[in-house]
Symmetry: D2
Subunit: 338 residues, 4 copies
């Protein structure tokens, strides 16, 4: 923490601030220039967290300089982590692809989707059994029934299952039927939920909040990890900006930012990130080129009949086209650009 | 819903889209101009919700024109609602003030705060017993113990209690001890939580999400109301923008927007909205002048010792100054400007 | 400037950074804690501006702590400035109101508008002769002819004239006919234009850029002032955010922020700030309550025939209603709340 | 344009709106459902532009459905355009790379930079002679002297020159010395400047405004094109969002959006887009994979001595590394993925 004093601050003001800081067991260094009076604070950030320096006399403002997450930080864990989901490794040499419909709509739909997904070469089947929807009158998901269909699809295809858990109550069911728990964008700061999935030990796919900073996202991972679950994978899915042409603004620079700040893997969801199926192919290729550890994309056996998010879903034909291109590009990246 | 066809769309494309729409029991009207081909869709929005028109041939894009909330809408409930919290009326002639520390830190602190709050003229005591914090290492609240202190403060002062509930598990406790349940910004789309507070019937203070649109906010109220609880009060607390000088950007135009779109009351929280105690007075006055039904503000008996958000907390002295000004202005608004 | 070194930075890295800083005539102070290594830099910011510390070994990131504007800053000019526009004082006890149509459309329209404006009690007539429009096919203004009509309206009513200047070439004309030059939001960082209006000495109304930070806005004023023109008045007109219900998000906290950071006056434009005539009254009252030095609002003798921005224009009747309320509130603020 | 009437709107209200629309030579279609009353308007958008329907009785709101740009639109020009800059083709099979320092600082610096740029394989040298800087006290560029150094660098290397023009007065000089005129982000809606570069016929690199929507950006191109200059190339350089880790948020989805909406080429500037040299390589590769027609990147012979933007500049070594990777990836994209 750095405290910038007002140019008119007196020596007495400075002494008082330093005295409060030292009383909390922290160390303070004073720097005085012609136009600037600064106090640097060194020590455990937690001790400082609630010192209301801004309310003290002579203080102009303060600037935060250190990070509040540790377990998720690369500083304290320089080597990249690989998250193993029942044999499928996320964060390794090969990108991991998760695909499937937005929502599980019926047994037939999800089984049909799974066959197409498997044939196309993805490793994970996605599909929501619990759907967080803006309106209470929209389709809310098949819940446990949907989870069972997903598990059946795994039996038939060998695909891993990733699906969203939206409430603490549903964790037991999702943990039982799925291989990886997804925390959706709207729940990225549902701290009660984060703590509980942290207690499961099950791999977690942590989507970025609608308007979450990187720092908040990393702290959300810290919530899960501090409960004992180190198996967190980030998923960039677009952030909210003033631009309305796309559903969200896909922030691909988050891929290299997260890789710099954290040792955990990160994948990209171009379907939610753009809201347009036409953009899924170019943004998938861009994500892979940017170094993403994988992709999550929506594919529906028949988008024109989808109960949600149909406009951003690939058809089976487009899915195969994207997969072919992604696989070629990943091989190229691995073999030619490393 | 309006469907804008591509200029090159064929009659066949148009016919197909119309046919799908009609197959869902909706009515379609075609408008064809020199440069534009448009299909208007009339009927129950829910039926249309998942028709992936964008994925159909010849469709350029679609535009949403109707609202998805009803119970919260003024269209279906033209008269303004007054929410009665155990005798205190929110949405009536007089603005309702909720004040108190960010967090309940100790019995002494909350009792001391309550006395000051009461003496200054506010009707509600606020204070978090469950604190949603960005970092898992920050102070997380006293939980049930904190609720008991709040209840004790009510006994001594007669103030009503409003406090945040962050998880479904905590609802029973908060419902038992508090007069009004607060849903915080980070939980505005925690739909599981919204549904459960909707089942309680207890008045709910619904804060706007960090980056929530008015439409999403109104739909969040709809989640609560559709479970049978009509007692919802909105609280504007600033939205996330590119500006970093203030903690958030307080959107006071939301006051008149909500009053136009909904019959429910709306109050304003200038403490979180700006993050600076110095701005609480001018923004409180502005909120009242804009027509807000009340205010929520942070006051700490000793901000320099606060465990969280000290920089935005008023001192008792500033609190009294703000209250005096707010009361004068409200009386003026009521008597001179109506 | 504060330089935060990487936890793994060596003493050699630190020495090198300090050596570069000292070579530029700046002073550096090192602070080393268990987890943090920080270098504080004291001295003339300009000398440091282009030192690419981030590119030096061992540097994690840097944080700016000082301001780059001086003439506009309250630190160097503690007393509030009053800008005198040919006898009308902006920044004094009474708020100054500027009103009129978005664009000058005809002699009749602007003369009719001026009479209504004058009768309602505003001091300034506004109206664009040069219109910056998103599309090249929209109405672009009457240019010099429009300026002449404005001057004629001044002759007839005694109102001062404020009108936008969009190009360096037009400055001479606008300076000749108007009393105050307006810099529009889209030109807030048109530095060539800022410098040239800085050379005129004429009062300038500086609108906030669509997505300008307070710091950028203050620096834009600094461009004008550093050319010798101290007569700058800020105008908050809403910023661009994700919310689309309003045309922009009116940031009323900018009023108290600017008053804290600068000695210059600030007025508020609720017409552009909201894009809805219905919101002009509540937002005008809120601006006055927040401490604004004045208002700018759109009024059209016949909004239904306006060539631009008709939806946000007040009718004459609404204008009179807003003016009556604003005047009552200002008197109350002056007499009862100071 | 679609007009959504209030549910309570009377037949009289509807008739009046329709009558006004027809009086302007436009056609109106009425759609009435149980809960919705909609009026569709067909015809020339310009005629409708200023009809203040929102101010008419019974109107709830309006929704824009058509585009205001034509020359820039793919609808009216389905085939992709290739912009020829003195023999170098932008928009063809091979991506075009523009590289160089942020600012021309001296003859030596720019000549040294040019040799490195040329050897690395880029086709264009970039470098600012006129620098738009937030603070008036920052380095503002060498102006004509800088242009001459750029021209000399072209003589020695054969590189094309692209450089920013910030004022109408400077157009003649920049046009004389450079091969391509750059319009910077801060001037994207400096319409006077756009019109004048539109009169030159010289190829224009049009950077996206700090907070410009795609629609505004396309309209800015329309300003240039409507003056007779069809040679416009877009450059995505990041938009302003709430995220502060990166200088801007690079919106790579703009690449496929622009390619869908327009026939003009688009390149990407990852240096300004991220503000961090470390991110230039991954974001360059991502841009190419997303289908960009080229890149603009900052390279300084000695970033640690740069007078501006040093932190985002590549060293010569990093530049060569990025170029090697970009060339390999482009070849792969061309040969394997088309």
């Amino acid at each position: 923490m750095v405290i910038i004093m007002h140019p008119e601050a007196t020596q007495e003001n400075i002494d008082e601030v330093v005295s409060v800081i030292k009383s909390r067991g922290l160390d303070a260094k004073i720097m005085i220039g012609e136009q600037q009076k600064i106090i640097g604070v060194i020590g455990d950030k937690a001790k400082f967290a609630s010192v209301p320096v801004d309310a003290m006399k002579g203080v102009d403002h303060t600037v935060e300089i250190s990070k509040s997450y540790k377990l998720a930080s690369r500083e304290f864990h320089p080597e990249s982590s690989i998250i193993d989901v029942d044999g499928v490794k996320i964060g390794g040499a090969e990108p991991v692809i998760m695909a499937g419909p937005c929502a599980v709509e019926s047994r037939e739909q999800i089984l049909e989707a799974a066959e197409i997904i498997k044939a196309g070469g993805a490793q994970f089947l996605r599909g929501g059994a619990y759907k967080p929807r803006t309106s209470p009158y929209s389709f809310q998901g098949l819940e446990v029934e949907g989870l069972k269909y997903l598990a059946e699809a795994r039996e038939k295809t060998g695909l891993k299952i990733v699906t969203e858990v939206t409430t603490v109550e549903a964790i037991d069911h999702v943990e039982y039927y799925a291989d990886m728990l997804q925390i959706g964008a709207r729940n990225m700061q549902n701290f009660g939920l984060l703590k509980e999935v942290g207690k499961t030990g099950k791999p977690v796919l942590l989507k970025r909040g609608l308007a979450a900073t990187l720092d908040e996202w990393l702290n959300a991972a810290e919530y899960i990890m501090s409960e004992g679950n180190p198996n967190v994978v980030f998923c960039e899915r677009g952030i909210r900006t003033y631009e309305t042409y796309t559903r969200n603004t896909l922030d691909l620079s988050a891929v290299s930012a997260i890789k710099h700040l954290s040792h955990l893997p990160i994948i990209v969801d171009p379907s939610h990130g753009t809201g347009k199926w036409r953009m899924v192919k170019p943004m998938s290729l861009a994500a892979i080129a940017a170094g993403a550890d994988g992709l999550m994309m929506e594919m529906h056996p028949n988008p024109a009949r989808a109960l949600s998010d149909g406009n951003q879903s690939l058809t089976p034909e487009h899915y195969r086209e994207v997969m072919t291109a992604v696989k070629k590009l990943s091989a190229f990246m691995r073999e030619e650009l490393d």
